[in-house]
Protein backbone atom coordinates (compact mmCIF):
# COMPACT_ATOMS: atom_id res chain seq x y z
CA UNK A 1 0.00 0.00 0.00
CA UNK A 2 2.57 2.57 1.13
CA UNK A 3 4.77 1.61 -1.81
CA UNK A 4 2.14 3.22 -4.08
CA UNK A 5 1.22 6.06 -1.75
CA UNK A 6 4.67 7.56 -1.56
CA UNK A 7 5.21 8.08 -5.31
CA UNK A 8 1.58 9.15 -5.68
CA UNK A 9 1.91 11.74 -2.93
CA UNK A 10 5.16 13.00 -4.49
CA UNK A 11 3.44 13.38 -7.83
CA UNK A 12 0.53 15.30 -6.25
CA UNK A 13 2.93 17.69 -4.56
CA UNK A 14 4.57 18.18 -7.91
CA UNK A 15 1.60 18.52 -10.26
CA UNK A 16 -1.18 19.79 -7.97
CA UNK A 17 0.31 22.55 -5.78
CA UNK A 18 -2.20 25.15 -4.47
CA UNK A 19 -1.48 27.56 -7.32
CA UNK A 20 -2.21 24.91 -9.98
CA UNK A 21 -5.45 23.90 -8.22
CA UNK A 22 -6.50 27.54 -8.03
CA UNK A 23 -5.72 28.13 -11.72
CA UNK A 24 -7.97 25.28 -12.81
CA UNK A 25 -10.75 26.50 -10.52
CA UNK A 26 -10.52 29.82 -12.30
CA UNK A 27 -10.97 28.25 -15.72
CA UNK A 28 -7.33 27.47 -16.57
CA UNK A 29 -6.26 24.52 -18.70
CA UNK A 30 -6.33 21.04 -17.18
CA UNK A 31 -4.07 19.71 -19.92
CA UNK A 32 -0.75 19.58 -18.05
CA UNK A 33 -2.14 18.23 -14.79
CA UNK A 34 -4.26 15.58 -16.49
CA UNK A 35 -1.33 14.61 -18.72
CA UNK A 36 0.74 13.88 -15.62
CA UNK A 37 -1.95 11.57 -14.21
CA UNK A 38 -2.44 9.82 -17.55
CA UNK A 39 1.30 9.25 -17.92
CA UNK A 40 1.75 8.02 -14.34
CA UNK A 41 -0.27 4.84 -14.88
CA UNK A 42 -2.24 5.48 -11.69
CA UNK A 43 -5.48 5.83 -13.67
CA UNK A 44 -5.29 2.05 -14.20
CA UNK A 45 -4.69 1.33 -10.51
CA UNK A 46 -7.92 -0.67 -10.17
CA UNK A 47 -7.78 -2.30 -13.60
CA UNK A 48 -7.13 -6.05 -13.23
CA UNK A 49 -3.62 -7.26 -14.02
CA UNK A 50 -4.81 -9.41 -16.94
CA UNK A 51 -6.11 -6.23 -18.61
CA UNK A 52 -2.78 -4.47 -18.16
CA UNK A 53 -3.64 -2.56 -14.99
CA UNK A 54 -2.02 -2.51 -11.56
CA UNK A 55 -4.74 -4.76 -10.13
CA UNK A 56 -4.97 -2.91 -6.82
CA UNK A 57 -7.77 -3.72 -4.40
CA UNK A 58 -10.08 -1.01 -3.09
CA UNK A 59 -8.20 -1.19 0.20
CA UNK A 60 -4.97 -0.44 -1.69
CA UNK A 61 -6.62 2.44 -3.54
CA UNK A 62 -8.07 4.00 -0.37
CA UNK A 63 -4.90 5.85 0.70
CA UNK A 64 -4.48 7.16 -2.86
CA UNK A 65 -8.03 8.53 -2.82
CA UNK A 66 -7.43 10.13 0.57
CA UNK A 67 -4.32 11.78 -0.87
CA UNK A 68 -6.43 13.27 -3.69
CA UNK A 69 -8.67 14.82 -1.02
CA UNK A 70 -5.69 16.03 1.01
CA UNK A 71 -4.45 17.95 -2.06
CA UNK A 72 -7.90 19.12 -3.27
CA UNK A 73 -7.05 17.74 -6.72
CA UNK A 74 -9.38 19.52 -9.19
CA UNK A 75 -9.81 16.58 -11.58
CA UNK A 76 -11.91 13.39 -11.46
CA UNK A 77 -8.89 11.10 -10.90
CA UNK A 78 -10.61 8.61 -8.55
CA UNK A 79 -13.72 8.59 -10.73
CA UNK A 80 -11.61 7.78 -13.78
CA UNK A 81 -9.90 4.93 -11.89
CA UNK A 82 -13.36 3.46 -11.18
CA UNK A 83 -14.61 3.91 -14.76
CA UNK A 84 -11.49 2.29 -16.22
CA UNK A 85 -11.83 -0.64 -13.81
CA UNK A 86 -15.46 -1.15 -14.82
CA UNK A 87 -14.97 -0.87 -18.59
CA UNK A 88 -12.14 -2.33 -20.64
CA UNK A 89 -12.68 0.15 -23.49
CA UNK A 90 -13.25 3.31 -21.48
CA UNK A 91 -12.42 6.41 -23.54
CA UNK A 92 -9.27 8.42 -22.72
CA UNK A 93 -9.54 11.57 -20.69
CA UNK A 94 -11.09 12.50 -17.35
CA UNK A 95 -14.38 10.73 -16.58
CA UNK A 96 -17.00 11.88 -14.07
CA UNK A 97 -19.64 9.55 -12.60
CA UNK A 98 -23.35 9.92 -11.96
CA UNK A 99 -26.67 8.11 -11.79
CA UNK A 100 -29.65 9.16 -13.92
CA UNK A 101 -32.53 9.41 -11.48
CA UNK A 102 -34.80 11.30 -13.84
CA UNK A 103 -34.01 14.82 -12.71
CA UNK A 104 -30.98 16.87 -13.67
CA UNK A 105 -27.96 16.00 -11.63
CA UNK A 106 -25.00 17.97 -10.22
CA UNK A 107 -21.71 16.11 -10.67
CA UNK A 108 -18.40 17.03 -8.95
CA UNK A 109 -15.63 17.75 -11.48
CA UNK A 110 -18.24 17.71 -14.26
CA UNK A 111 -16.80 20.88 -15.81
CA UNK A 112 -13.33 19.37 -16.17
CA UNK A 113 -14.41 15.90 -17.34
CA UNK A 114 -14.26 14.87 -21.00
CA UNK A 115 -16.79 12.10 -20.48
CA UNK A 116 -19.66 11.42 -18.12
CA UNK A 117 -20.30 7.79 -17.17
CA UNK A 118 -24.00 7.54 -16.36
CA UNK A 119 -25.88 4.65 -14.84
CA UNK A 120 -29.52 4.26 -15.83
CA UNK A 121 -31.98 1.39 -15.46
CA UNK A 122 -30.65 0.12 -18.82
CA UNK A 123 -26.98 0.01 -17.76
CA UNK A 124 -23.93 2.24 -18.13
CA UNK A 125 -23.73 4.97 -20.75
CA UNK A 126 -20.93 7.27 -21.85
CA UNK A 127 -21.79 10.83 -22.81
CA UNK A 128 -19.05 13.05 -24.26
CA UNK A 129 -20.42 16.36 -23.16
CA UNK A 130 -19.47 19.20 -20.92
CA UNK A 131 -22.20 19.88 -18.45
CA UNK A 132 -23.54 23.31 -17.59
CA UNK A 133 -21.81 25.41 -14.99
CA UNK A 134 -23.77 25.53 -11.76
CA UNK A 135 -23.12 29.22 -11.26
CA UNK A 136 -21.46 28.47 -7.93
CA UNK A 137 -18.18 30.46 -7.81
CA UNK A 138 -14.97 28.42 -8.28
CA UNK A 139 -16.92 25.15 -8.29
CA UNK A 140 -15.91 22.57 -10.87
CA UNK A 141 -19.22 20.72 -10.53
CA UNK A 142 -21.55 20.70 -13.51
CA UNK A 143 -25.24 20.16 -14.03
CA UNK A 144 -26.19 17.48 -16.56
CA UNK A 145 -29.47 16.64 -18.17
CA UNK A 146 -29.54 12.85 -18.08
CA UNK A 147 -32.90 12.60 -19.85
CA UNK A 148 -31.71 11.41 -23.28
CA UNK A 149 -28.98 8.79 -23.26
CA UNK A 150 -27.17 6.86 -26.01
CA UNK A 151 -27.28 3.05 -25.98
CA UNK A 152 -25.69 1.47 -22.91
CA UNK A 153 -22.13 0.18 -23.24
CA UNK A 154 -22.26 -2.26 -20.32
CA UNK A 155 -24.55 -3.50 -17.57
CA UNK A 156 -24.51 -1.57 -14.29
CA UNK A 157 -22.12 -2.89 -11.63
CA UNK A 158 -23.59 -4.96 -8.83
CA UNK A 159 -24.85 -2.62 -6.14
CA UNK A 160 -24.86 0.31 -8.55
CA UNK A 161 -22.45 2.99 -9.65
CA UNK A 162 -23.53 5.26 -6.78
CA UNK A 163 -22.03 2.86 -4.21
CA UNK A 164 -18.66 3.07 -5.95
CA UNK A 165 -18.88 6.84 -6.21
CA UNK A 166 -19.88 7.03 -2.53
CA UNK A 167 -16.83 5.16 -1.22
CA UNK A 168 -14.56 7.35 -3.35
CA UNK A 169 -16.31 10.47 -2.07
CA UNK A 170 -15.96 9.26 1.54
CA UNK A 171 -12.21 8.76 1.08
CA UNK A 172 -11.85 12.22 -0.50
CA UNK A 173 -13.74 13.71 2.48
CA UNK A 174 -11.44 11.85 4.89
CA UNK A 175 -8.36 13.22 3.11
CA UNK A 176 -9.60 16.81 3.06
CA UNK A 177 -10.69 16.52 6.71
CA UNK A 178 -7.20 15.37 7.62
CA UNK A 179 -5.64 18.38 5.89
CA UNK A 180 -8.13 20.76 7.54
CA UNK A 181 -7.43 19.33 10.99
CA UNK A 182 -3.68 19.86 10.49
CA UNK A 183 -4.20 23.41 9.16
CA UNK A 184 -6.50 24.27 12.04
CA UNK A 185 -4.19 22.94 14.78
CA UNK A 186 -1.25 24.80 13.20
CA UNK A 187 -3.21 28.04 12.99
CA UNK A 188 -4.39 27.72 16.60
CA UNK A 189 -0.78 27.50 17.73
CA UNK A 190 0.23 30.58 15.70
CA UNK A 191 -2.61 33.00 16.17
CA UNK A 192 -2.15 35.14 19.26
CA UNK A 193 -5.11 36.73 21.02
CA UNK A 194 -5.39 37.80 24.64
CA UNK A 195 -1.59 37.49 24.80
CA UNK A 196 -1.31 33.78 24.01
CA UNK A 197 -1.92 31.32 21.16
CA UNK A 198 -5.68 30.70 20.85
CA UNK A 199 -4.90 26.95 20.93
CA UNK A 200 -4.24 27.32 24.66
CA UNK A 201 -7.88 28.21 25.29
CA UNK A 202 -9.68 25.17 26.65
CA UNK A 203 -12.84 26.13 24.79
CA UNK A 204 -10.99 25.84 21.48
CA UNK A 205 -9.12 22.72 22.53
CA UNK A 206 -12.40 20.95 23.25
CA UNK A 207 -13.80 21.94 19.83
CA UNK A 208 -10.66 20.84 18.03
CA UNK A 209 -10.60 17.52 19.88
CA UNK A 210 -14.10 16.84 18.53
CA UNK A 211 -12.87 17.86 15.08
CA UNK A 212 -10.08 15.28 15.34
CA UNK A 213 -12.62 12.64 16.39
CA UNK A 214 -14.77 13.38 13.36
CA UNK A 215 -11.73 13.31 11.09
CA UNK A 216 -10.68 9.88 12.38
CA UNK A 217 -14.26 8.57 12.19
CA UNK A 218 -14.39 9.65 8.52
CA UNK A 219 -11.10 7.89 7.84
CA UNK A 220 -12.10 4.64 9.53
CA UNK A 221 -15.57 4.63 7.94
CA UNK A 222 -14.11 5.27 4.50
CA UNK A 223 -11.62 2.45 5.09
CA UNK A 224 -14.60 0.19 5.86
CA UNK A 225 -16.12 1.31 2.56
CA UNK A 226 -13.00 0.12 0.78
CA UNK A 227 -12.35 -2.95 2.94
CA UNK A 228 -14.25 -5.49 0.81
CA UNK A 229 -14.52 -6.48 -2.81
CA UNK A 230 -15.06 -4.31 -5.90
CA UNK A 231 -17.83 -3.11 -6.12
CA UNK A 232 -18.63 -2.56 -2.42
CA UNK A 233 -21.62 -3.95 -0.53
CA UNK A 234 -24.51 -1.68 0.39
CA UNK A 235 -23.50 -1.77 4.08
CA UNK A 236 -19.92 -0.80 3.22
CA UNK A 237 -20.91 2.09 0.95
CA UNK A 238 -23.60 3.35 3.32
CA UNK A 239 -21.39 3.24 6.40
CA UNK A 240 -18.59 5.06 4.62
CA UNK A 241 -20.67 7.83 3.08
CA UNK A 242 -23.02 8.35 6.03
CA UNK A 243 -20.26 8.79 8.61
CA UNK A 244 -17.97 10.77 6.29
CA UNK A 245 -20.75 13.14 5.16
CA UNK A 246 -21.77 13.88 8.73
CA UNK A 247 -18.14 14.50 9.68
CA UNK A 248 -17.63 16.76 6.64
CA UNK A 249 -20.06 19.43 7.80
CA UNK A 250 -18.73 19.42 11.36
CA UNK A 251 -15.05 19.49 10.36
CA UNK A 252 -15.67 22.37 7.94
CA UNK A 253 -17.56 24.32 10.60
CA UNK A 254 -14.82 24.00 13.24
CA UNK A 255 -12.06 24.76 10.72
CA UNK A 256 -13.80 28.05 9.92
CA UNK A 257 -14.64 28.82 13.54
CA UNK A 258 -10.99 28.52 14.59
CA UNK A 259 -9.58 30.38 11.59
CA UNK A 260 -11.92 33.29 12.14
CA UNK A 261 -12.40 35.95 9.49
CA UNK A 262 -9.26 35.18 7.46
CA UNK A 263 -10.64 31.70 6.71
CA UNK A 264 -13.51 33.04 4.66
CA UNK A 265 -11.27 35.09 2.37
CA UNK A 266 -10.78 33.83 -1.17
CA UNK A 267 -7.06 34.26 -0.77
CA UNK A 268 -6.75 31.77 2.09
CA UNK A 269 -6.37 28.08 1.23
CA UNK A 270 -8.94 26.99 3.80
CA UNK A 271 -11.87 27.48 1.44
CA UNK A 272 -10.42 25.13 -1.18
CA UNK A 273 -11.03 22.31 1.30
CA UNK A 274 -14.19 23.43 3.09
CA UNK A 275 -16.00 24.12 -0.20
CA UNK A 276 -15.13 20.65 -1.38
CA UNK A 277 -16.27 19.04 1.87
CA UNK A 278 -19.73 20.52 1.40
CA UNK A 279 -19.87 19.59 -2.30
CA UNK A 280 -18.76 16.03 -1.52
CA UNK A 281 -21.06 15.44 1.44
CA UNK A 282 -24.02 16.21 -0.84
CA UNK A 283 -22.70 14.28 -3.86
CA UNK A 284 -23.50 10.60 -4.51
CA UNK A 285 -26.08 10.41 -1.74
CA UNK A 286 -26.00 12.44 1.47
CA UNK A 287 -25.81 11.07 4.98
CA UNK A 288 -29.59 10.76 5.16
CA UNK A 289 -29.83 9.06 1.76
CA UNK A 290 -27.47 6.27 2.79
CA UNK A 291 -28.90 6.04 6.31
CA UNK A 292 -32.32 5.21 4.87
CA UNK A 293 -30.93 2.42 2.68
CA UNK A 294 -28.79 1.05 5.50
CA UNK A 295 -31.71 1.28 7.93
CA UNK A 296 -33.92 -0.73 5.58
CA UNK A 297 -31.24 -3.41 5.21
CA UNK A 298 -30.70 -3.54 8.98
CA UNK A 299 -34.44 -3.81 9.74
CA UNK A 300 -34.73 -6.72 7.31
CA UNK A 301 -32.27 -8.68 9.46
CA UNK A 302 -33.60 -10.35 12.61
CA UNK A 303 -30.18 -10.59 14.26
CA UNK A 304 -28.46 -8.44 16.84
CA UNK A 305 -26.71 -5.20 15.87
CA UNK A 306 -23.22 -6.27 16.92
CA UNK A 307 -23.51 -9.49 14.89
CA UNK A 308 -24.89 -7.49 11.97
CA UNK A 309 -21.95 -5.12 11.73
CA UNK A 310 -19.43 -7.87 12.47
CA UNK A 311 -20.74 -10.10 9.69
CA UNK A 312 -21.07 -7.18 7.26
CA UNK A 313 -17.34 -6.52 7.55
CA UNK A 314 -16.11 -10.06 8.18
Amino acid sequence: MSEFLEPFERMLEDVAPPAAVRAIEHGGSTHAMWGAFAESGFLDALVPGERGGAGLSLADAHPLWMALGRHAVPLPVGETMIARALLADAPDGPIALTVADGAGTVVPCGLVAAQLLIESAAGLHFVATKGDATGVPASLAARFDTGRLPAPVAPAPEGGLRSLAAILRAALIAGAAERLTQMTAAYANERIQFGKPIGRQQALQQQMAVMAEEMVAARIASQLGCAGSFPPSLVAAATAKSVASKAAARVAATAHAVHGAIGISEEHDLQRFTRRLHEWRLADGSQNYWNRLLGAARLADPGRSVDYVREAFA
Binding site: A185, G199, R200, Q206, M208, A209, I220, G295, V306
Partner: protein, 280 residues
Protein backbone atom coordinates in the same frame (compact mmCIF):
# COMPACT_ATOMS: atom_id res chain seq x y z
CA UNK B 1 0.24 -7.49 34.73
CA UNK B 2 1.47 -8.95 31.45
CA UNK B 3 3.36 -5.76 30.70
CA UNK B 4 4.70 -4.85 34.11
CA UNK B 5 4.26 -7.85 36.44
CA UNK B 6 7.07 -10.12 37.63
CA UNK B 7 7.38 -13.70 36.36
CA UNK B 8 6.00 -14.96 39.71
CA UNK B 9 3.03 -12.55 39.59
CA UNK B 10 2.18 -13.55 36.05
CA UNK B 11 2.44 -17.26 36.84
CA UNK B 12 0.25 -16.94 39.90
CA UNK B 13 -2.48 -14.52 38.83
CA UNK B 14 -2.96 -14.76 35.09
CA UNK B 15 -3.95 -18.46 34.78
CA UNK B 16 -6.38 -17.99 37.66
CA UNK B 17 -7.88 -14.88 36.04
CA UNK B 18 -8.27 -16.75 32.76
CA UNK B 19 -9.96 -19.67 34.50
CA UNK B 20 -12.39 -17.27 36.15
CA UNK B 21 -11.16 -18.19 39.62
CA UNK B 22 -9.89 -14.72 40.49
CA UNK B 23 -11.59 -11.38 39.97
CA UNK B 24 -9.67 -8.11 40.04
CA UNK B 25 -11.02 -4.64 40.56
CA UNK B 26 -9.07 -1.48 39.72
CA UNK B 27 -8.57 1.05 42.50
CA UNK B 28 -8.02 4.55 41.10
CA UNK B 29 -10.52 7.25 42.19
CA UNK B 30 -10.61 8.55 45.75
CA UNK B 31 -13.05 10.95 47.42
CA UNK B 32 -10.73 13.89 46.69
CA UNK B 33 -9.26 12.51 43.44
CA UNK B 34 -11.65 12.15 40.52
CA UNK B 35 -10.48 13.68 37.26
CA UNK B 36 -7.31 14.81 39.04
CA UNK B 37 -6.12 11.26 39.59
CA UNK B 38 -2.51 12.21 40.35
CA UNK B 39 -3.68 13.77 43.62
CA UNK B 40 -4.41 10.36 45.26
CA UNK B 41 -3.63 10.30 48.98
CA UNK B 42 -4.02 6.62 49.91
CA UNK B 43 -0.53 5.56 50.98
CA UNK B 44 1.49 2.40 51.06
CA UNK B 45 4.44 2.73 53.44
CA UNK B 46 7.36 0.34 53.64
CA UNK B 47 7.43 -2.06 56.61
CA UNK B 48 9.90 -4.76 57.55
CA UNK B 49 7.85 -7.38 55.73
CA UNK B 50 6.40 -5.34 52.88
CA UNK B 51 3.85 -2.53 52.77
CA UNK B 52 1.18 -1.02 55.03
CA UNK B 53 -1.79 0.65 53.32
CA UNK B 54 -4.02 3.38 54.77
CA UNK B 55 -6.70 5.40 53.01
CA UNK B 56 -9.77 5.02 50.86
CA UNK B 57 -10.79 4.31 47.27
CA UNK B 58 -14.23 5.08 45.83
CA UNK B 59 -16.18 4.36 42.63
CA UNK B 60 -14.29 1.08 42.33
CA UNK B 61 -16.32 -1.06 39.93
CA UNK B 62 -17.27 -4.47 41.32
CA UNK B 63 -14.99 -4.24 44.38
CA UNK B 64 -17.62 -6.24 46.31
CA UNK B 65 -17.17 -9.13 43.87
CA UNK B 66 -13.40 -8.81 43.69
CA UNK B 67 -10.70 -10.99 45.20
CA UNK B 68 -7.91 -8.50 44.57
CA UNK B 69 -7.51 -4.84 43.77
CA UNK B 70 -4.78 -3.39 41.61
CA UNK B 71 -4.43 -0.03 43.30
CA UNK B 72 -2.71 3.24 42.48
CA UNK B 73 -1.11 4.34 45.74
CA UNK B 74 1.32 6.95 46.97
CA UNK B 75 4.54 5.21 48.06
CA UNK B 76 6.64 8.33 48.61
CA UNK B 77 6.26 12.08 48.88
CA UNK B 78 2.90 13.84 49.11
CA UNK B 79 0.09 14.63 46.72
CA UNK B 80 1.98 17.86 45.93
CA UNK B 81 4.51 15.68 44.11
CA UNK B 82 1.87 14.80 41.54
CA UNK B 83 3.02 12.07 39.13
CA UNK B 84 6.16 11.23 41.11
CA UNK B 85 5.99 8.78 44.02
CA UNK B 86 3.00 6.75 42.81
CA UNK B 87 3.09 2.95 42.51
CA UNK B 88 0.73 0.10 41.70
CA UNK B 89 0.18 -2.58 44.32
CA UNK B 90 -1.95 -5.70 44.45
CA UNK B 91 -4.21 -5.76 47.50
CA UNK B 92 -5.90 -8.93 48.75
CA UNK B 93 -9.40 -7.69 49.52
CA UNK B 94 -9.81 -10.42 52.16
CA UNK B 95 -6.85 -9.09 54.15
CA UNK B 96 -7.55 -7.74 57.65
CA UNK B 97 -8.31 -4.02 57.64
CA UNK B 98 -10.09 -3.95 54.25
CA UNK B 99 -13.75 -2.89 54.25
CA UNK B 100 -15.84 -2.84 51.06
CA UNK B 101 -19.17 -1.00 50.91
CA UNK B 102 -21.29 -1.14 47.75
CA UNK B 103 -22.83 2.14 46.54
CA UNK B 104 -26.42 1.92 45.35
CA UNK B 105 -26.91 3.95 42.16
CA UNK B 106 -29.88 5.91 40.82
CA UNK B 107 -31.09 2.89 38.83
CA UNK B 108 -31.23 0.72 41.96
CA UNK B 109 -28.10 -1.27 41.14
CA UNK B 110 -24.77 -1.43 42.91
CA UNK B 111 -21.84 -1.56 40.50
CA UNK B 112 -19.51 0.75 42.38
CA UNK B 113 -18.11 0.46 45.89
CA UNK B 114 -16.11 2.33 48.48
CA UNK B 115 -13.07 0.50 49.78
CA UNK B 116 -11.41 1.44 53.09
CA UNK B 117 -7.88 0.45 54.11
CA UNK B 118 -7.03 0.54 57.82
CA UNK B 119 -3.43 -0.59 58.44
CA UNK B 120 -3.62 -3.27 55.75
CA UNK B 121 -0.36 -5.24 55.61
CA UNK B 122 0.83 -6.44 52.21
CA UNK B 123 3.81 -8.65 51.37
CA UNK B 124 6.83 -7.10 49.59
CA UNK B 125 5.86 -8.77 46.30
CA UNK B 126 2.56 -6.87 46.21
CA UNK B 127 4.33 -4.16 44.20
CA UNK B 128 3.65 -4.47 40.48
CA UNK B 129 6.16 -3.00 38.08
CA UNK B 130 8.52 -0.43 39.49
CA UNK B 131 8.15 1.70 42.58
CA UNK B 132 7.45 5.30 41.57
CA UNK B 133 6.28 4.41 38.05
CA UNK B 134 2.64 3.96 38.93
CA UNK B 135 1.52 6.96 36.90
CA UNK B 136 3.11 5.68 33.71
CA UNK B 137 1.69 2.21 34.28
CA UNK B 138 -1.81 3.43 35.06
CA UNK B 139 -1.85 5.69 31.98
CA UNK B 140 -0.95 2.72 29.80
CA UNK B 141 -3.70 0.72 31.48
CA UNK B 142 -6.27 3.42 30.72
CA UNK B 143 -5.59 3.07 26.99
CA UNK B 144 -7.07 -0.44 27.32
CA UNK B 145 -9.99 0.75 29.38
CA UNK B 146 -10.84 3.61 27.04
CA UNK B 147 -10.95 1.80 23.72
CA UNK B 148 -12.65 -1.47 24.65
CA UNK B 149 -16.09 -2.70 23.59
CA UNK B 150 -17.65 -1.48 26.85
CA UNK B 151 -17.07 2.04 25.57
CA UNK B 152 -19.27 1.55 22.52
CA UNK B 153 -21.74 -1.24 23.39
CA UNK B 154 -23.23 -0.01 26.70
CA UNK B 155 -26.59 0.86 25.09
CA UNK B 156 -26.62 -1.83 22.41
CA UNK B 157 -29.19 -3.98 24.24
CA UNK B 158 -31.58 -1.04 24.04
CA UNK B 159 -30.78 -0.59 20.33
CA UNK B 160 -31.60 -4.24 19.66
CA UNK B 161 -34.80 -4.12 21.73
CA UNK B 162 -35.92 -1.03 19.78
CA UNK B 163 -35.12 -2.65 16.43
CA UNK B 164 -37.10 -5.74 17.49
CA UNK B 165 -39.98 -3.40 18.34
CA UNK B 166 -39.81 -1.69 14.93
CA UNK B 167 -39.83 -5.06 13.21
CA UNK B 168 -42.77 -6.25 15.31
CA UNK B 169 -44.93 -3.18 14.57
CA UNK B 170 -43.77 -3.04 10.95
CA UNK B 171 -42.76 0.61 11.01
CA UNK B 172 -40.48 1.58 8.10
CA UNK B 173 -41.08 5.25 7.26
CA UNK B 174 -38.08 7.16 5.98
CA UNK B 175 -37.33 9.00 9.26
CA UNK B 176 -37.25 5.68 11.13
CA UNK B 177 -35.07 4.02 8.51
CA UNK B 178 -32.65 6.96 8.61
CA UNK B 179 -32.33 6.73 12.39
CA UNK B 180 -31.70 2.97 12.27
CA UNK B 181 -29.17 3.50 9.47
CA UNK B 182 -27.37 6.27 11.35
CA UNK B 183 -26.97 4.09 14.45
CA UNK B 184 -25.82 1.11 12.37
CA UNK B 185 -23.21 3.09 10.42
CA UNK B 186 -21.81 4.61 13.61
CA UNK B 187 -21.75 1.29 15.42
CA UNK B 188 -19.82 -0.31 12.53
CA UNK B 189 -17.34 2.59 12.54
CA UNK B 190 -16.86 2.60 16.31
CA UNK B 191 -16.28 -1.14 16.28
CA UNK B 192 -13.60 -0.73 13.60
CA UNK B 193 -11.99 2.09 15.61
CA UNK B 194 -11.96 -0.02 18.77
CA UNK B 195 -10.40 -2.92 16.87
CA UNK B 196 -7.75 -0.61 15.40
CA UNK B 197 -6.81 0.46 18.95
CA UNK B 198 -6.78 -3.13 20.15
CA UNK B 199 -4.41 -4.04 17.33
CA UNK B 200 -1.99 -1.33 18.48
CA UNK B 201 -2.29 -2.41 22.12
CA UNK B 202 -1.55 -5.97 21.05
CA UNK B 203 1.65 -4.71 19.41
CA UNK B 204 2.68 -3.35 22.78
CA UNK B 205 2.03 0.28 21.84
CA UNK B 206 0.15 2.72 24.05
CA UNK B 207 -2.30 4.60 21.81
CA UNK B 208 -3.41 7.07 24.49
CA UNK B 209 -4.80 9.72 22.12
CA UNK B 210 -6.56 7.22 19.87
CA UNK B 211 -8.13 5.43 22.85
CA UNK B 212 -9.41 8.76 24.20
CA UNK B 213 -10.89 9.49 20.81
CA UNK B 214 -12.71 6.12 20.69
CA UNK B 215 -14.10 6.62 24.18
CA UNK B 216 -15.38 10.14 23.56
CA UNK B 217 -17.07 9.21 20.28
CA UNK B 218 -18.28 5.88 21.68
CA UNK B 219 -19.84 7.31 24.81
CA UNK B 220 -21.51 10.11 22.81
CA UNK B 221 -23.13 7.35 20.74
CA UNK B 222 -24.11 5.36 23.83
CA UNK B 223 -25.65 8.44 25.41
CA UNK B 224 -27.48 9.55 22.30
CA UNK B 225 -29.25 6.18 21.87
CA UNK B 226 -31.58 6.34 24.91
CA UNK B 227 -32.50 9.98 24.18
CA UNK B 228 -33.30 9.35 20.51
CA UNK B 229 -35.04 6.01 21.07
CA UNK B 230 -37.13 7.42 23.93
CA UNK B 231 -38.17 10.32 21.72
CA UNK B 232 -38.97 7.96 18.85
CA UNK B 233 -41.13 5.63 20.94
CA UNK B 234 -43.02 8.45 22.62
CA UNK B 235 -43.63 10.04 19.20
CA UNK B 236 -45.65 6.94 18.28
CA UNK B 237 -48.30 6.65 21.03
CA UNK B 238 -50.32 4.30 18.81
CA UNK B 239 -47.66 1.60 19.18
CA UNK B 240 -47.68 -0.68 22.22
CA UNK B 241 -44.28 -0.62 23.93
CA UNK B 242 -43.74 -3.78 25.92
CA UNK B 243 -42.72 -3.59 29.56
CA UNK B 244 -39.21 -4.94 29.03
CA UNK B 245 -38.38 -2.42 26.29
CA UNK B 246 -39.68 0.39 28.51
CA UNK B 247 -37.61 -0.78 31.50
CA UNK B 248 -34.54 -1.13 29.30
CA UNK B 249 -35.06 2.36 27.93
CA UNK B 250 -35.40 3.92 31.37
CA UNK B 251 -32.52 1.92 32.87
CA UNK B 252 -30.14 3.01 30.08
CA UNK B 253 -31.44 6.57 30.31
CA UNK B 254 -30.67 6.68 34.04
CA UNK B 255 -27.19 5.13 33.88
CA UNK B 256 -26.09 6.89 30.67
CA UNK B 257 -24.46 9.88 32.46
CA UNK B 258 -21.88 7.50 33.93
CA UNK B 259 -20.67 6.50 30.44
CA UNK B 260 -18.75 9.75 30.00
CA UNK B 261 -17.50 9.83 33.60
CA UNK B 262 -15.99 6.38 34.17
CA UNK B 263 -12.50 5.82 32.84
CA UNK B 264 -11.93 9.56 32.29
CA UNK B 265 -14.47 12.32 31.78
CA UNK B 266 -15.31 13.71 28.36
CA UNK B 267 -13.49 16.96 29.19
CA UNK B 268 -10.33 15.17 30.37
CA UNK B 269 -10.30 13.00 27.23
CA UNK B 270 -10.69 16.01 24.95
CA UNK B 271 -7.77 17.64 26.75
CA UNK B 272 -5.67 14.53 26.02
CA UNK B 273 -6.72 14.59 22.36
CA UNK B 274 -5.88 18.31 22.09
CA UNK B 275 -2.42 17.59 23.50
CA UNK B 276 -2.05 14.82 20.94
CA UNK B 277 -2.85 17.40 18.23
CA UNK B 278 0.06 19.52 19.42
CA UNK B 279 -2.06 22.15 21.20
CA UNK B 280 -0.99 23.70 24.56
Amino acid sequence: MLNYGSEAQRDFYIPRICRGELVFCIGMSEPGSGSDLASVRTRADRTETGWRVNGQKIWTTNAMHGDYMIALLRTSGTSEDRHAGLSQLIIDLKAPGVTVRPITDLAGDAHFAEVFFDNVDLPADALIGNEGEGWKQVTAELAFERSGPERIYSSVVLLDAWIAHLRAVGRADSATLALVGDFTARLATLRAMSIACTARLALGESPVTEASLVKDLGTAFEQELPVAIGDDLAAHPDEAVDAELYRTLMFVTYVAPSFSLRGGTREVLRGIIARGMGLR
